[in-house]
């Protein structure tokens, strides 16, 4: 059934936290995602015209780059985006066949490919563009939060996390239970003021984005100092704290 699972307090809600301060936009998460998932639960992730002009294909993770602010206060923000595994996932409720579903036990949103009719309505209902159509198989595909890694007993325990999180060289991505207010990821979100994307639409996304911290006020240390500043500095040498330097200063000032 495409009804969303019943909610209860403390429900497990697995998801990602992405630190926009740390992401350097290297696309490693997107590549690792593609590599794992083209052989994983939703495999394959087809590419078309892969080696020529007009190449396109299915990716579950895409890295956008934005600029925020103007002039000295501006900064570049690299912005990885994948499925946010929303609490109120309209991609699930609009599905006419029951192919799209949200797991009650961990909140992961998945597609049952053998039920999907390829009507694409779920991709229209997703404000974030998390779903991509597989034109080869005629079905919709999406991020599985690496369901075949996080519960995979054949992997070493430290590898049981989504490929995008595991590969991130700057550790800008975190995986955990956002339904538990005491989990490491929930505490990180609380400490850094983690945000929802498009909260106004009411999808209640699970994944959170940590906004870039405010930069220190800009100080130009390398600019040539004006002569008046140097003179003022010489005159106030009497304030020098080090007694040895004070003595040298007095000696030289004679």
């Amino acid at each position: 059934m495409t009804d969303l699972p019943a909610r209860y307090p403390g429900q497990t809600q697995l998801g990602l936290v992405i630190d926009l301060d740390l992401c350097v936009g290297c696309h490693a998460c997107a590549t690792a995602c593609k590599e794992w998932n083209t052989g994983g639960h939703m495999a394959p992730l087809p590419d078309f015209n892969a080696y020529g002009d007009g190449a396109w294909g299915v990716w579950f993770n895409r890295i956008h780059s934005f600029e925020e602010g103007e002039g000295d206060g501006a900064r570049t923000v690299h912005f990885p985006k994948s499925c946010l595994h929303c609490e109120d996932a309209a991609c699930v409720t609009v599905c006419p066949t029951g192919a799209s579903y949200k797991r009650a036990e961990d909140g992961i949103v998945l597609v049952n490919e053998s039920l999907c009719i390829g009507c694409k309505l779920c991709s229209w209902a997703c404000p974030y563009g998390a779903r991509e159509f597989d034109a080869d198989e005629g079905v919709m595909k999406k991020c599985t939060l690496c369901i075949d890694r996080i519960y995979n007993a054949n992997l070493a325990p430290e590898e049981r996390q989504p490929a995008c999180v595991f590969v991130c060289p700057t550790k800008a991505r975190f995986f955990g239970d956002l339904g538990d207010p005491n989990s490491a990821v929930s505490e990180l979100v609380a400490a850094r003021g983690g945000k929802d994307l498009m909260p106004e639409l009411g999808y209640r996304p699970t994944n959170k984005y940590l906004p870039p911290r405010r930069a220190r006020p800009y100080v130009d240390d390398l600019a040539p100092q004006p002569l008046t500043a140097l003179l003022a500095e010489a005159q106030s040498a009497a304030d020098v704290a080090n007694p040895l330097l004070r003595w040298v200063d007095r000696l030289l000032s004679r």
């Binding site: 059934m1 990716w59 923000v77 006419p96």
Partner: protein, 315 residues
């Protein structure tokens, strides 16, 4: 949004078909239509063929058409599923009503009741079609109060124009249908203009800042897209129509869908026999063309929030 021809044809054809069925199911039991079994056959066949052709066309939009039957299962949450269920359900009372009218010349009693039921089901089906679009929050041009009335009024307009044309083969000078056709064309025109005014003066609450949770330092703009080539999201949801084409197409839609059918219905109202018949037929042809353009624009002018991640500032 990408205007897929299968969907444009589906919404226009089944909209007209179900609206015609709505009118027949309502008017025939009340004795407002020619009682002839042949009239019933022609009118109901037209309604059934339009509705069914639209539904069949929608199946061609699917990636897996052979699994289309699965779409009847999720009526509890999905408007697309509800539309599928209601469209099939409508054919049950409509078939009984049709058999009674065409083969037994009966439009009263139980047959009439089935007619009313078919009318109600047909109206609900049209509303469900509209709700498929109106329920999608990421598309501001669809998620608004004008979409369902638009679908209903445009369907009704097509239904009345068709009914007036068909009646003219049996009645030399009908009065009610051309008048009602004229009035519904004007009402549909008004509702479409109201929709256009709404989308021209309104944009979604979502912006590039809310989509990225950025903006505390100042305006947010795209620096680099995630990929240099196209992808599914841009093909399906990034469809853009040039402003000058939009203006021109709206003008063509205004003329062909509303102005010409209104004028021709007026001519049909004042004339009888051959002239009236030709006017009514031209009104149907013009409206059919206009509705297809109008529906194409309904998709082409719709902007999805995903484009905010690809350089759009507002949607």
């Amino acid at each position: 949004m990408h205007p897929a021809l299968s969907i444009v044809f589906f919404t226009t054809a089944s909209g007209a078909g179900f609206a015609l069925l709505f009118l027949l199911g309502l008017a025939a039991p009340l004795g407002l239509l020619p009682q002839s079994g042949w009239f019933g056959f022609v009118a109901l066949a037209t309604a059934f063929i339009l509705a069914a052709a639209g539904l069949v066309s929608s199946v061609f939009h699917l990636g897996r058409p052979e699994r289309a039957w699965r779409a009847f299962s999720q009526w509890r949450s999905s408007w697309l599923s509800r539309e599928g269920v209601m469209s099939v359900l409508t054919f049950v009372p409509a078939a009984i009503f049709g058999i009674g009218w065409v083969f037994f010349g009966e439009t009263g009693g139980l047959i009439g009741l089935c007619g009313f039921l078919a009318a109600i089901c047909a109206a609900v089906t049209i509303a469900c079609t509209g709700m498929i679009y109106a329920s999608l929050k990421p598309i501001h041009q669809w998620h608004n109060r004008w979409v369902v009335p638009n679908y209903f009024m445009l369907g009704l307009m097509a239904g009345f124009l068709l009914l007036d044309l068909m009646i003219r083969f049996w009645v030399v000078r009908p009065v009610g249908t051309p008048l009602l056709a004229l009035l519904t064309v004007l009402a549909a025109w008004w509702s479409k203009e109201a929709y256009w005014r709404f989308i021209d003066t309104n944009s979604a609450p979502s912006t590039v800042a809310s989509a990225t949770a950025l903006g505390s330092r100042g305006p947010v703009r795209m620096l680099e897209p995630p990929h240099t080539q196209d992808n599914y999201l841009l093909q399906e949801m990034g469809f853009r129509i040039a402003r000058k084409h939009k203006t021109r197409l709206r003008l063509i839609a205004r003329i062909t869908a509303f102005l010409l059918p209104a004028l021709l219905s007026f001519v049909a109202l004042l004339t009888a026999g051959g002239t009236g018949l030709i006017a009514a037929a031209l009104a149907v042809i013009s409206a059919a063309l206009g509705l297809v353009i109008e529906r194409w624009l309904f998709f082409a002018e719709a902007k999805h929030t995903v484009t905010l991640y690809y350089g759009a500032v507002a949607v």
